[in-house]
Each structure stands twice: as structure tokens, then as C-alpha cells.
């Protein structure tokens, strides 16, 4: 029996090569796209699930809140919380913490930048990892041990055993030696715990820093809590606000303690930290978007399959009827056709897997991801794919299998009318569904792309090209470094500030407007006099700040204090907020300004600059105030000569080596920092574009198959029409109209859906494009044009055929 099914299935495939190709290829491409997207999404959701008891581990995070300001989300937790957690919750089994820092390491006289974890003693108990050399028990036997990963061992001690080797780490102002006590397997790519270089945490290293104390303002260490199995986390979470209430110190001096600000605690499952944790770059919403696209593409491919199978029902109705006459019952017919489409789906799946294998390198490069597909090592994936193939086969075959099971043989065997008259409308409906999805995807891809471009081209208010930001320039040598930079012919200007654009400011200053109303809050930014010229921020009124004594709020010196009066610069938005009609009106005004609740300065506005983005370009521009604080100038922004970028960066490196021989230069490129902010959207936009093209292609394949089928079936009708006097143009019009109707209807469905989705999405942006009707109409027209191009070949052939031949066709 099975042999017979197989035989007839294969012969039918061979007989209708075009149909078979479109059916299998369409489904294969759809499946490949679906698999590629879901592999990526799976990868993103799989982070940190490899730890022993990962489902019981949570990262404790602090979010600082201040009324009227955006929350400051920290991935870390303050130190006192460890003991508080042990005291409060019986369910806490263990807590481990680490301070994640970029350190300078010296090996064989050479300096390296090294990401370092200063970890609690129980780190290796908490996070189980494989030791290639040494063991967990002796890893931190002494305070001068270091555990490194396999790849770190290769970096420093290639070719020989690392165990017992000595490596120096710059801590404070001196290099300390550490002995390698263990080598662990390299960290997984999908893990937030980057354990390449692990030192035992030692409070002595950080004496003088206010971190790692009881101070609740500094959340410095990532803190992981393991709860007893079966702990009801909702009860634990319900307790968290009370913990803050009880333990957060409330002093009298406002800014210094928890009066003006507060904190919320959150426990994020370690498996979800990558996507939901503070300061992590995963974005679950974008992933759900990807997943939706994947499902839609698969749906289009399945609909394609359904549609083409239904188109062929006429062809196989005779076979089915004869089988029924000869005794086949409904379930046997169902089995036959479901089996057939499952078989086809599995064949498509094989092809899809080959396509995925071929596409993966490009796909990974495209998404900068590390997606892999190892079917032999991943039985769960294999099973899931098999289930996918069978599921797709069953759903794709369900419609025509049911149709055949219910078919009454006498309708076919005795009558001359075509048995599929009832399916024409259904098939048109399927084309509508397919094109609705395609058109909606096209519209969404277009506007997402537009929004991304718009955001990229958004005037940031400063010029981001050819800027290099060098961090760690707060020391006494910084002026020397600056002068060395300016001596280079490749450096045009150097500006200083505590933070740089895209990072946002954490200083909030309060100024009472001239009319005596409520104090307004401005974002403060400690800068140097050269900040505005380096960033090319235009002056609207007055002047920029200078090196003049009165322009410097705080000098770089021992026990530096703030001047009681100093000159400041504000932006246009701040001027407006303070009640000045024009920027000029603000210049010369003296404003009592609260740097903190205990520090008031009489600030004179000497200049008003154009508004510029300091936070993410996704946020609105905020009112800002700028002043010179020489103690807070840790970032140096270098405007280089764009003509010779490499030479410019070399000269920055050279100036650094001459000034700071014991530390490594760490710099960032402002253009990259700006681009980084759009990465998530840009990725969504690219993926959407790529898969929209796929979706449209699959839809067109289906339409093409359907057109060839229709052309065949309408040959007789068209012959009669031609005999009755219809001309080539009339026939073409007739056939094109037949395919235009479902596409037009699809537009009608797709537009509101796309509009609703896009409007919602765009509302998440401070600066967004508007949804014009024109792109909707253009894309609708494009879909129609694509549809026409797909079917016109067949239409032309049929329309041109000799009617005599057509009428003999039967």
C-alpha cells in the first residue's frame, strides 16, 4: 500500500515538474528562513542556561530613582545587600559577587588590556566550570592567585602549561604579581559571566575609593543569589521594597543619602539577564519581532503549498474517486494525502537544512552572531526540526487531504464539470492571505528602514565624525598629554569633559527662574573650555567658557573647593525653561544654582549654545548647564584630521605612551558610539528587509504556479472568447484582472494592520517619522506590478494561442 502511495506521489511530482519545484522550493526557502531566524532567537534566549542549577540563580540589580528623572539602571548591587539578603531570606543558599573591570596586565614586559573579574572566594563553587589545569578547591588558595581561561592561557603562555606562571596586574599605581593557580574552559559566547581572568577580591586594592563600602550610592559589584529549589520568587520579590525602606540610610543632607533619591531592587533570572537585565544589550521585543516574521514567512510558504495542492485537486480527483470506488475509505484517503505532503515537507526540510548550512556564515556575519546548527550533537534541535517538518506537512496537506476524503466519486466519474469549482474561491482567498502578509511586511520594512535612516540622519546638534574619545585622563599628567596631542599635525583640537555625548549625564542641578517660580532641573555637565569647539556646537548668544579664573568653578588642586560664583553656559532649551524670551536675554543674568542641596553657587550665564543630544538619540534633548570643573575631566575628546585616520590614531597612541607608560590607551570612536545606539533598530531593519524579500519571492512563486495552472484551465474559455471576437488585449486584461483582484484585496487588509503596528512602534521614539499614505499606495502598486510581472508570461502565451487548438484541447 505504502509502496503504491509512494509510487503515485513520485510520479505525480515528476509529471508536474513546475508545480513540484515551486511547491518544494517554496517550502524549503520558507523553512530555511524560519530555521535561521529561530536558531538566532533560540541562541539569544539560551544565555547562561549552562550553569549548574541555573534556574535557581538570580542577579540582584539596583535601579536608582529620582523624581522627575530617568531611572539609572545598574547591573550591580550595593555591598550591604549581601548580608541583608542572608538575614532576611531563609531561602538564600548562597551569594557570590564580582567586580568586572578592565585592567592593565604586564607579561614579559609587554602591556595588555585585560577584562578582569575580582571575585568572591566562593565564585568557583557558585559557578561550576571545568578546570583544565588546577582545581576549584585550590583556585584561590592565596590572595595572589589568578585563574585564567583557556583562551587567556593561549594569549599569554601559548604552547606551554600556564599553571604556576606569574603575571602582573596594575592595581592602583603599582604592578602586583599573581600566580596562575588554574586554567578553566573558555567562557561560552552566550554568557554574561566573562571569566577570562579571575582574581580573588581584595578590599585593600580599593582603599581610598568610596566603593566597596557601606555606601549605598555605589553599586559596583555584580551580585548573584542562589535560592533553594522551589522558592516562591513572587514572595521574595514582594519583600524587596521593604528591604530598601528598612535599610537605605536616610540622612539630613539630601543628595548624600536616600532622601532625594531612592532605589528599587530586582532579581533577574540569570538565564534572562542578557535580555532583561540592566545594562545588557539583548532586546526581547526585537526577538519577538523576529519570531513573528519567521512565523509569517512559514505561514506564507505553507499557504503556498496549500494553494498549489488545491489547484491540483482536479488533476487527482479521478484517482481518488477510483480509489474510493475500489473500496478506499476516508481515513485511507486522508492518510495517503497527509502522508504525501509530510513526505514533501520532509524533502523540503532536507533542502532547507542544506540552505541553512550554506547561509549560516553569511547570516552570522550579517547579524554579528555566532549561531550554529549541530544536528548530531543537539538531539533536541533534531527532534524539533523533525516535528516542524511533520507539522508543516500535516497542516500544508490538511486542506486537500480533507477535500479528497470528502470527495464523492460519482461527482467526478460521471460528470463533465470540473470537480474543483468549489475551490476556486478558496484558492483566491489563500492568495489574498499570502499577499496581505507580504504587503504588510513590505510596508513595515519600508517604514522601519525610513525611521532608522531618519534617526541616523537626525541632527545630533554636534558633529560626530573624526572624534576619538580617550578615557582615564583625570590624572595630573593630563595637561601634558593634551599638549602632546595638540603638537601632532593630525590632531585638530582637544576638548575635555566628565562624560561625552551618547552617555548621558548624571548631574542634576536646580535653578530658580527669574520670575521666582519653582526651581527647574537642568542636566549638568562638567566640561573644559574647549568642549564646545571640539564638538562644533554653535553659539547662539554670548561667549564660550575660557581658561579665565572666573570661568572655572573648581580648580584641579589639593582640597579643591567650588567658587561661590562662576560663569556658566546653558543650552537654548534651558534658556527657554528659565523664562528668557531669547538667548540674548539670558546672557549676563546671575542665577542662584544648587549643585547639591548644600552647595549653592551664584552662576552667571555668559553664553547660550544650540541644543544638542547628550543622552541617546532615542531620547528627547534635555535642558543642560555646562561649567568647568577641572577635577572632573576624565574624558578627552580628540578631533583628528579625517584625511589620515591611522596616522592620527598612531599619534594619539604615541602621546599616550610618552605620558602614561604604565597603562594602556583606551579610546572609543564617537561615530561608533552613535551608531551603536541604532544597532538594535538597524538590525531589525536589515533582517526585516531581507526576509520581506524572501516572503515576496515565495508569494510570487505561488502566484506563478497558480497562473500557469489557471492558464491551462482557462484555455478552452479563452478559445471561445477569441472565436467570438476577443482580441489579445482583451484577453490579457481579463487574465490580469483575475490576479489583480486578490492583490488589491490583500492591500485593503494589509494597510490597516501595518499602520496599527507601525504607529505603535514609532511611538517608542522621541523623534519619529510620520506615516504618509504615499508609501502605502506605492507599495500596493509595487505589489500589483510584481504580481503582474509574475503572471504576464502565462497570460500572454494563453492569450496568443490559436483558438482552434484550444478548443480541441478537451
Amino acid at each position: 500500500m505504502f509502496e503504491n502511495y509512494l509510487k503515485i506521489a513520485i510520479r505525480n511530482l515528476m509529471r508536474n515538474k513546475l508545480f513540484s519545484f515551486i511547491n518544494i522550493a517554496g517550502l524549503a526557502v520558507g523553512l530555511a528562513a524560519f530555521i535561521l531566524i529561530t536558531l538566532f532567537v533560540r541562541d539569544e534566549f539560551s544565555w547562561d542556561s549552562h550553569w549548574t542549577r541555573s534556574s535557581d540563580i538570580y542577579r540582584l540589580e539596583n535601579t536608582y530613582t529620582r523624581p522627575g528623572q530617568p531611572d539609572r539602571e545598574s547591573p550591580n548591587a550595593v555591598d550591604p545587600l549581601k548580608d541583608i539578603f542572608f538575614d532576611t531570606f531563609r531561602e538564600v543558599e548562597d551569594i557570590t559577587r564580582y567586580f568586572d573591570a578592565g585592567m592593565t596586565v604586564r607579561n614579559n614586559g609587554e602591556l595588555f588590556g585585560q577584562r578582569t573579574l575580582f571575585a568572591d572566594a566562593n565564585f568557583f563553587d557558585f559557578f561550576s566550570m571545568r578546570f583544565l589545569e588546577g582545581n576549584a578547591a585550590n583556585a584561590f588558595a592565596t590572595q595572589s592567585n589568578v585563574v585564567i581561561s583557556q583562551r587567556t592561557a593561549e594569549k599569554y603562555f601559548a604552547g606551554s602549561s600556564a599553571l604556576g606562571e606569574v603575571i602582573s596586574v596594575r592595581i592602583g599605581d603599582e604592578f602586583r604579581d599573581f600566580v596562575v593557580s588554574g586554567v578553566v574552559a573558555s567562557p561560552k559566547e552566550n554568557s554574561i559571566v566573562v571569566h577570562d581572568f579571575i582574581l580573588p577580591f581584595n578590599r585593600e586594592y580599593f582603599v581610598g575609593a568610596r566603593w566597596f563600602t557601606e555606601d549605598w550610592r555605589f553599586a559596583i559589584r555584580q551580585t548573584f543569589v542562589r535560592f533553594a529549589p522551589g522558592t516562591d520568587m513572587s514572595l521574595i520579590r514582594a519583600e524587596l521594597p521593604a528591604i530598601v525602606d528598612r535599610h537605605l540610610p536616610k540622612g539630613q543632607d539630601g543628595m548624600e543619602t536616600g532622601r532625594d533619591w531612592s532605589m528599587t531592587l530586582s532579581l533577574v533570572p540569570i538565564e534572562g539577564v542578557h535580555l532583561y537585565g540592566n545594562g545588557e544589550n539583548g532586546d526581547a521585543d526585537v526577538l519577538y519581532g523576529f519570531l513573528a516574521v519567521a512565523v509569517l514567512i512559514l505561514l506564507i510558504a505553507v499557504v503556498n503549498f496549500l494553494n498549489l495542492s488545491m489547484a491540483r485537486t482536479a488533476h487527482r480527483a479521478r484517482e481518488v474517486s477510483m480509489r474510493k470506488v475500489l473500496g478506499a475509505n476516508r481515513s485511507q484517503i486522508l492518510q495517503q494525502f497527509l502522508g504525501e505532503s509530510v513526505l514533501l515537507a520532509l524533502v523540503s526540510l532536507m533542502i532547507a537544512l542544506a540552505l541553512v548550512e550554506l547561509a549560516l556564515p553569511y547570516y552570522n556575519a550579517f547579524l554579528s552572531s555566532l549561531v550554529q546548527m549541530n544536528l548530531l550533537e543537539d538531539p533536541a534541535l533534531l527532534a524539533a526540526l523533525l516535528a516542524l517538518g511533520i507539522g508543516v506537512g500535516l497542516s500544508a496537506g490538511s486542506m486537500h487531504a480533507t477535500y479528497f476524503a470528502l470527495l464523492r466519486p460519482r461527482d467526478v466519474l460521471y460528470s463533465n464539470t470540473s470537480p474543483d469549482a468549489g475551490t476556486t474561491r478558496l484558492r483566491a482567498g489563500l492568495v489574498v492571505a499570502q499577499f496581505s502578509i507580504s504587503v504588510a511586511l513590505m510596508i513595515i520594512a519600508f517604514f522601519v528602514n525610513q525611521q532608522t535612516e531618519y534617526a541616523r540622519q537626525l541632527d545630533l546638534g554636534f558633529s560626530a565624525d573624526n572624534l576619538i574619545v580617550v578615557s582615564g585622563t583625570n590624572g595630573s599628567q593630563s595637561e601634558t598629554f593634551k599638549q602632546r596631542l595638540l603638537a601632532s599635525p593630525f590632531v585638530e583640537a582637544v576638548g575635555r569633559s566628565s562624560d561625552v555625548p551618547t552617555e548621558g549625564s548624571e548631574d542634576r542641578l536646580h535653578i530658580r527662574p527669574l520670575d521666582g517660580g519653582e526651581p527647574v532641573m537642568l542636566d549638568g555637565l562638567p566640561t573644559g573650555p574647549d568642549f564646545f569647539s571640539v564638538y562644533r556646537i554653535p553659539l547662539l548668544a554670548g561667549r564660550y567658557l575660557t581658561d579665565a579664573e572666573a570661568d572655572i568653578l573648581r580648580k584641579r588642586e589639593e582640597n579643591a573647593s567650588y567658587r561661590p560664583d562662576a560663569n556658566i553656559v546653558i543650552n537654548a532649551m534651558a534658556a527657554k525653561l528659565l523664562g528668557f524670551e531669547t538667548p540674548d536675554a539670558a546672557v549676563g543674568q546671575i542665577m542662584p544654582t544648587d549643585l547639591s542641596s548644600t552647595l549653592r553657587v551664584n552662576a552667571t550665564i555668559v553664553g547660550v549654545v544650540e541644543d544638542f543630544h547628550f543622552d541617546s538619540a532615542r531620547d528627547v534633548i534635555r535642558p543642560g548647564i555646562y561649567y568647568i570643573d577641572q577635577m572632573r575631566q576624565s574624558d578627552m575628546t580628540v578631533r583628528i584630521n579625517g584625511g589620515n585616520r591611522d596616522a592620527a590614531i598612531n599619534s594619539v597612541e604615541q602621546a599616550w605612551r610618552e605620558t602614561f607608560p604604565d597603562t594602556l590607551l583606551s579610546y572609543r570612536v564617537m561615530e561608533d558610539m552613535v551608531e551603536q545606539q541604532y544597532q538594535s533598530e538597524a538590525r531589525l531593519s536589515d533582517v526585516l528587509l531581507m526576509f520581506t524579500i524572501l516572503a515576496v519571492t515565495i508569494s510570487c512563486m505561488g502566484l506563478y504556479g497558480l497562473a500557469s495552472f489557471t492558464a491551462e484551465r482557462r484555455t478552452k474559455e479563452i478559445g471561445i472568447r477569441k472565436v467570438l471576437g476577443a482580441r489579445l488585449g482583451d484577453i490579457l486584461k481579463l487574465l490580469l484582472w483575475q490576479f489583480s483582484k486578490p492583490i488589491l484585496l490583500a492591500n485593503l487588509l494589509a494597510w490597516p494592520a501595518a499602520f496599527y503596528f507601525l504607529n505603535d512602534w514609532l511611538n517608542g521614539f522621541a523623534y519619529r517619522i510620520e506615516l504618509d499614505l504615499l508609501p502605502f499606495a506605492s507599495i500596493g502598486a509595487a505589489a500589483l506590478a510584481i504580481g503582474w510581472m509574475t503572471v504576464i508570461g502565462h497570460a500572454y502565451l494563453v492569450a496568443r494561442a490559436n483558438p482552434i487548438k484550444a478548443l480541441r484541447h478537451e
Binding site: 484517482e319 470506488v325 473500496g327
Partner: protein
């Protein structure tokens, strides 16, 4: 073999009710060869469909081998049909994708017969209708007469007691038509009951009895005088 008692069939569309068969009473003995004649639209095919259990009557009884099958559902009818009834159609209804022997074998596939026995029976019946030398051919490679012989073979390969033939010679030239008729006659002589719809009086003469239908009624029944 079978007995139709007061059997009617009414087709309903949205607005019109058409009586295809109207209180038909027919009895067919085992081993008979019956021809059904009548003008187009008189209900011949409907009658054959009901006898062949491809359709159910609107009212009346259909006693097949002592069992009233009129109220039976599709599954039961399908079972009885595959045991006892073979079909031959005007348009042959061979499956294009299957070879001659595969087409014939199809009739045994739904009977739980082992493959070796299936092959034997197919070979035997192909010999009987003289198509063995074409066993591997596809239907499109055969003449109309050959195709109908394959269809006959398919109808009898399961040892069906009754064959229903719907204008079996309608698509054939006279020589081939006669060939098929002789084949049916010899099957009848071996004991197979044959019910045949035909337009051709000459071919109706092969039957021992002719039932004339008109507008859904049995008008006359004549027995052939000489055997």
C-alpha cells in the same frame, strides 16, 4: 442478488427539486445480465450509482444480498462495495500515473491481500482479458479498447459477484465495442451478474433482460426471447 423497492431519488438545489428516480421497483437475480436503456436524463446513471452504492436513495429500500443497505453510511457501503461490486466506466477512469498492472492491482490494495497473491491474481486476470503483453505500459500508451479491457480486468480482479458497466462501449469504435461486449458476456457465463447502461440496442441484445427507463420510471422490462 438485489431488489429495489419503491426507490426514489430527489435532487435538491436552492430552488428546484428534481426527481431523478420515482418509485422504482427492480429485482435482479444472481447471474443475470441486465441492460438499462433510456434517453439522456432518464435516471439511468442515478440508478447505477445507487445500485453501486456511490449514492444513497432519498426513500425506499435497497436490498442487496438479503440486507437493506438504504440507510447505511459511507463506511459500511464502501465495505460492501469493495467486496462485491466492480465498475466499468465509459471514460475508463484509469489512473494516468499507474501502469496497466498497477491499475489493476489498485483494486486489491484495499483488501488486505498479500503482495505475492496480488501479483498472481493480476497476472491471471491480465491473461484472461488478453492484456498481459502490455503489463508495464502506461494508459496513455494504449488504445481505447485496450484501456477498457484493463478497466474490465480491474473490475473483476477482486472476484466481484456483480459488475456495473456505465456505457462501457460509449468511447469505443464498433470492433473494440464488440470485443468488450463479448468479454462481458463470457464473464456472465462464468456466473458474474452484470448490470449495464447502454444507448446501443445492439449491445443491449447481449443482455437477457432490458429495463427501459423514462423520466425516472421503469417503463418496460423485456426478456430476450431466445437465449
Amino acid at each position: 442478488m438485489l431488489k429495489l423497492h419503491n426507490l426514489s431519488k430527489v435532487y435538491r438545489t436552492d430552488e428546484v427539486e428534481t426527481a431523478a428516480l420515482n418509485s422504482v421497483n427492480i429485482e435482479i437475480e444472481s447471474g443475470e445480465f441486465v441492460a438499462i436503456m433510456g434517453p439522456s436524463g432518464c435516471g439511468k446513471s442515478t440508478l447505477l450509482n445507487i445500485i453501486g452504492m456511490l449514492d444513497s436513495p432519498s426513500s425506499g429500500d435497497y436490498i442487496f444480498m438479503g440486507e437493506n443497505v438504504a440507510p447505511y453510511g459511507e463506511a459500511k457501503l464502501s465495505n460492501i462495495r469493495k467486496q462485491h461490486i466492480g465498475f466499468i466506466f465509459q471514460s475508463f477512469n484509469l489512473i494516468d500515473e499507474l501502469s496497466v498492472e498497477e491499475n489493476i492491482e489498485l483494486a486489491l490494495l484495499y483488501h488486505n491481500i498479500p503482495a505475492s497473491e496480488r501479483r498472481e491474481r493480476v497476472a491471471h486476470v491480465m491473461d484472461k482479458v488478453g492484456i498481459a503483453h502490455r503489463a508495464k505500459h502506461m494508459p496513455s500508451q494504449l488504445s481505447g479498447g485496450q484501456q477498457q479491457r484493463v478497466a474490465v480486468a480491474r473490475a473483476v480482479v477482486g472476484d466481484q459477484a456483480m459488475i456495473l458497466a456505465d456505457e462501457p462501449t460509449g468511447n469505443l469504435d464498433s470492433a473494440h465495442g464488440q470485443e468488450v461486449m463479448e468479454m462481458l458476456q463470457s464473464l456472465n457465463e462464468e456466473g458474474t451478474t452484470i448490470v449495464m447502461v447502454t444507448h446501443s440496442p445492439a449491445h443491449a441484445d447481449y443482455a437477457r433482460r432490458t429495463i427501459n427507463l423514462f423520466d425516472g420510471h421503469v417503463v418496460t422490462e423485456n426478456l430476450r426471447a431466445a437465449v
